[in-house]
Amino acid sequence: MSMAGETRSVVVEREFAHSAEKLWRALTQPHLMQEWLMKNDFAPKVGHKFKLTGEWGGVLDCEVLAIEEGKALSYTWDFVHQDPAYNLKSVVTFTLTPTATGTHLRMEQEGFRPDQKQAFGGAHAGWRQFLDKLDGLLAKEG
C-alpha cells in the first residue's frame, strides 16, 4: 500500500509456475475469470464496459482501459453507493512478466480516496462476509 496525494494503491504480486499465455487466458476469458474472480461479461476490447458481480450481490462497474496482449491489462473498478463513504472509483492493472520458471503477476489497484473506509462493496462486504470465506482458505493452507 502506498499513498500519493489523493489516492492510495494496493499492490499484490505473485509468481505462478505457468506460462504467461495461460495466465493471460485466465485473466481475459469470461468463463475462466468467473472461476477465480467474479461473474462477468468481460471482453478483451478497449472501451468495453462490463460488470463484475460479487457473491454478496454487489455489482462493480468496469471499463477496459488498456490491453497489451499477454502482457498487461487495465480496467476501471467502480462501486456506486449512495453513501459516499462506500463509493469507490479505482483502476485495476495486471502486469505479466515471464520468469525462468513461470510468470510473475503484479496487480495494482489505485484510485481510492484517503477517506475510503471500506472498499469492495462496502457495507455489503464487511468483515462477516469476508470471514465466511476463511474456512476454505485455511483448509487449503493445511
Partner: protein
C-alpha cells in the same frame, strides 16, 4: 499466506473455527454472557466453550470480567480493526483471489 500481517493471521485462525466464530458472533449480537449462558446454545460441552473462550481471549477478541464466582465475557470489536481497514481488506481480497487463480491454472493443465 504472502502479504498477510501477523495480526490478521491470528484473527483468521482464531475465527476460522465455526464453533468459536459462533460464540464470538453471539457475544457481538447479544452482549456480555457467562460460560453457562453460552454453553446453553453452543451445542458443545462447557469445557469446550471455555477452551474456545480462552483462544478468543488470547487473540484479544474477547474480554473476561469477574463478578463474584462468575466470569462475564464480552466481544472486543476493536480487535477486528486489522480486518476492517479497507486497504488490508482489499489486499487480502486479491491474495485470496490469487490462491483461487493458482488452483484454476493447475486445473487448466488437465
Amino acid at each position: 499466506m504472502i502479504g498477510m500481517s501477523k495480526a490478521q493471521d491470528v484473527l483468521f485462525r482464531t475465527l476460522a473455527d465455526p464453533t468459536r466464530r459462533a460464540i464470538f458472533e453471539r457475544l457481538c449480537r447479544e452482549g456480555e454472557k457467562t460460560v453457562v449462558a453460552l454453553t446453553a446454545k453452543a451445542g458443545v460441552s462447557q469445557p469446550v466453550v471455555s477452551k474456545h473462550l480462552g483462544v478468543l481471549k488470547q487473540a484479544g477478541l474477547v474480554r473476561g470480567r469477574h463478578q463474584g464466582r462468575e466470569t462475564h465475557y464480552s466481544a472486543q470489536l476493536k480487535a477486528l480493526a486489522p480486518l476492517v481497514d479497507w486497504t488490508t481488506q482489499m489486499g487480502s481480497f486479491w491474495e485470496t483471489r490469487f490462491d483461487t487463480l493458482e488452483d484454476l491454472l493447475k486445473r487448466m493443465d488437465q
